[in-house]
Structures are given as C-alpha cells and as structure tokens.
Amino acid sequence: MIRLQGVTKRFRSAAGERTALDGVDLEIAAGEVFGVVGRSGAGKSTLVRTINRLERPDAGRVFVDGQEITALAPAELRAARRRIGMIFQHFNLLNAKTVAENVAFPLRLEGRGGAEVDRRVAELLARLGLAEHARKHPAQLSGGQKQRVGIARALATEPKVLLCDEATSALDPETTEDILTLLDQLNRELGLTIVLITHQMEVVRRVCDRVAVMKDGRVVEQGATADVFLHPHHETTRAMLAEGEEAFDASVVPPGARLAKLTFRGAATYEPELSRVARSVGVDYSILSGRISRIRGEPYGQLTVAFTGGDAEAAVARLTDRGVRVEAA
C-alpha cells in the first residue's frame, strides 16, 4: 500500500544543514497498522509527512496505492491527498467552525454540498460517538473528543490510508487507550491502513502489527511488533523498551547462579512451564524481573530468572525444547 525508496530529506537553516531522513526504505502492507517509533528528532514526523508530501523529499520515491506521490503534479497531488487521511497531535481543528462543519470541511473542499454531505457527516459523527456534539465548537470539547473529530474529518473522504502524527501524545493515558481502541476498530472494520508515529512504546505494543525504529533519520530495526519488542537488536530499541522498566539490582543475583531471560509467547504464557521444568530437573529459580502482557492482542511473558542449586543447563535445554526462548540475561 505504501512504499518508500531511498527517501532522503535535508533541512537547511542558518545553523547549517541537517539530515532528517537518510535513505529510508519502507514497505507498508494494505490493512496493517504500522508503527514508527523513535526519540524526538529521529525523523519520524518528517517520514510520515513525506507520505502525503507535506514534506517533499530531496531524493527517493514514495508510492501510495500504486501512485508515485513524489512524481505528481499539484492538482494530482491534491486529489491523492484526499485519499490519505491525517490526524495530528494538536488536532488542528478549525476553531471558528462547529464539529459538524469541521467534519464536512474536506467534502466542501471537493466542492460537494447539500444532503449528501449532511448524510455523510451525520454517519461519521454517529460512528465516532459525537452526534450530540455536532453543533458545538472545538473549544467546548475535551482532548479525546477533539481527536475523535479529527478522525471523523480524516475519514470523511473515505481514505484507504490514515496517517497519525503523534495522535495520542497530547492525551492522558485513559483517553489514549480510548483513541487506540478506536483506531484498532477502524483498522479491522474498514480495512484501513494506519501509519502511526509515536514516541510512546505502549502505543505500538497496543495496536501495531509491525514497527520500525528510527534513529538519526534511519530505520535501525523493523519487523513484527512482537519480534522487535521481545528480541530487540538495536541499542535504541533496547533503550526505549527499558524506560519505565525496573532493572534488577545486580547485587541480588545469588552467587554461582545462571542468569537467563525467558520469553513465552501465546498460550504458553499462562502454562506452568517454568515450575514443571524446575521440578523435573531439580533446580531452583528466582525471578529477578518480569512482565506478562500482550502485544497487539498476543499474550507474552518475559522473565529474567536466576537458576541455582542444580543443573541449570539441563533446565535451559528442557525449556528450549518446550518452545520457550532462552537468551543470556
């Protein structure tokens, strides 16, 4: 659905030239929720903005739904942009217009009017739970409601792609969850391809099928969210995942212990595998840190354990046999 080939963007300023995107290649399939994470300044916002050419790349090509966005004439680009919805961190609603007028806005830009627009707007407002707010102005709404209006507006022209530029970064955790549930639902029900830019790892964990990690204008790691999150290779990914996690204190590790990081995925997460193996091998274990959660709905558990008082290697071999991934901790 979306393909980026060698996309490069440099910004020139009095301070000199800065490379925001450095030869980025990316392929996003139709119907997937694709996350782009990175710290501020990594180039992720510039990246998403090349998809609808709000930023024009200095080099490289961008394709959306078979159309080369980077090669379009102005009128063709405007037509293409109507097929690509976008929502923003600060919503970017028109304060002078009512909620209904905001949602109708992209349709009016296409020159549509009358009952057709009214019907479409009513349908969108109902779908997003905004019907009662139709005549209010954005200033009268909460952040979450404003973002819902932003989403309704983005969907008005029935786009195949929705770009989300830090769409939940200005919202509180509860509202973030609410908006993510909504995006997930739109992805499933409408088959909408969603590209989501964020610095919040939780957002990616919650809704993204695949993820790309960016640093200094390059994609340093990408893959299925579960693979990248459970077995990160790049230091940036590791560092971002480690934030907010309690690292265990090395002084608590029992002397002579064999440390191992165990990853359980799917149904195995809830099985007493570790206990069974420990009993059969005759080894003790202490859990030093761990997390049981879900990535895009798939359960997983990741534990750092210290084996003591027995044949730790045998326990590791047995766990590996049973499909538990064991890595050095």
């Binding site: 709000l54 923003f88 970017n92 028109l94 002078a96 806005f105 992209p106 102005h137």
Partner: protein, 218 residues
C-alpha cells in the same frame, strides 16, 4: 453657554464625518485584507513564500506608513483630483484616508493571520485544499476575530484622520473644530465637536468589541 454653536452646521458636519469614515473604512478593508493576505502568504515559510514580492510589498507599506498623514493629504491632492474630480468635501477626503489607512490595516490583517496555528494550514493541505481554499475557508475565518479587532483600531485611527483632513477642506467635525473652535476662539464649538468625536470613538470601540466577541470561539 453654547452661543456660537450652530446646531444645523454641527449636524451637517457630523454626517460628513460619518460618510468619510464609512466610505474610507469600507475601501480600507477592501484593499487592506487582500494586501494583508499577500503580505502573509508571501512571507518566509508560508503557503506562497516569495521573498521578492514580500520585500516589495513590505517596502511600499512601510513607506506609506512612515509618511505623516498631514503630508500625505497634501501630496495626494493631484492624485485625488484625478481619481474623484475634486480634492474638496467628503469625496476629496476619501482617497488620502484610504491610502493612509489601508497599509496600516494590511499589517494588522497580516498579524491576525500569523496568529492562526500553522497546524490549520497543514490540515488544509493534507485534506487536498488549494491555497485559495485554505485562505478563504480556513485562514480568514480563523483570523476573523483579529481582523475585526484590527478594523476597529483602524476605524478609530480614521476618525482622527478625518479630523485632520479638515485642514485641506474636507469638511466634517474636525473642520468645524479648526475653523470655529481654534481660529475664531469659539471654545464652545470646540467642546461640542470634541465631545461628538469622543462619542463616535466610544461607539466604534463598543461595536467592534461586540463583533469580535460574537465571532470568537476560543
């Protein structure tokens, strides 16, 4: 008390002042808004960034704004005759008033547009809007409170300009104040005209504030 005051004369002068003000304000807005939009759009990083156009417009606006109005009145005399056939009366006052006020108002419009969040322009672009659509359907409505507040400030400045225009035979309350109140030492005429001008300014400010409040949705 008001022995020297000819109320018919005062009435006629008040009507003249209102006509000068209304005519010049309408034309100032007519020229000032597009000029302000061009100043904004041609600015650095804006939708139709054009450094040359911006520099030229900026220069013209600054030159007109730096000429003291009393000088502009005199310099404009031949142009005024060319445009409206006379340099006297209400019609003769309007061209210099517009030339004096439009560049000032254009700057206020430009400032009001700059106050609009850049995200609004970005959203308009992302939705496939043309520059004209973004200006007329998003930017101007969003900037309307500022544009109206600017029109209020400009209208009040125009009131004092109309008074000055009395010097070159424009008529109106300012003319009365100068000819009778000042030159003939008729203090009562001076007081009446000044009070009327004061009421006019008060009224304009109140009206302007109400209009701004009515279109503000922040």
């Amino acid at each position: 008390m008001f022995d020297n005051v000819d109320w018919t004369e005062i009435g006629r002068a008040t009507v003249d002042t209102l006509l000068m003000l209304g005519g010049s304000l309408a034309l100032t807005v007519l020229f000032g808004v597009p000029l302000g939009v061009l100043l904004y759009l041609s600015g650095k990083g804006r939708l139709a960034a054009n450094p040359v156009l911006n520099a030229v417009l900026s220069f013209v606006v600054n030159v007109l704004r730096s000429v003291p109005f009393i000088i502009l009145l005199i310099v404009m005399l031949p142009v005024t005759v060319l445009l409206v056939g006379t340099s006297l009366g209400v019609a003769g006052a309007i061209p210099p008033l517009v030339v004096g006020a439009a560049p000032f108002y254009a700057r206020l419009v430009e400032t009001a547009l700059r106050e609009v969040d850049k995200g609004v322009v970005e959203a308009g672009q992302a939705m496939g809007g043309t520059t004209l659509q973004i200006v007329t359907r998003a930017l101007l409505p969003e900037a309307l409170p500022g544009i109206l507040a600017g029109a209020t400030v400009t209208a009040i400045a125009l009131v004092s300009y109309t008074a000055m225009a009395g010097v070159v035979g424009a008529g109106g309350l300012g003319d009365l104040a100068i000819r009778f109140g000042y030159q003939r030492f008729q203090t009562d005429v001076m007081i009446v005209t000044v009070v009327l001008l004061l009421l006019l300014v008060q009224g304009l400010q109140m009206l302007g504030d109400r209009l701004v409040a009515a279109v503000s949705h922040r």
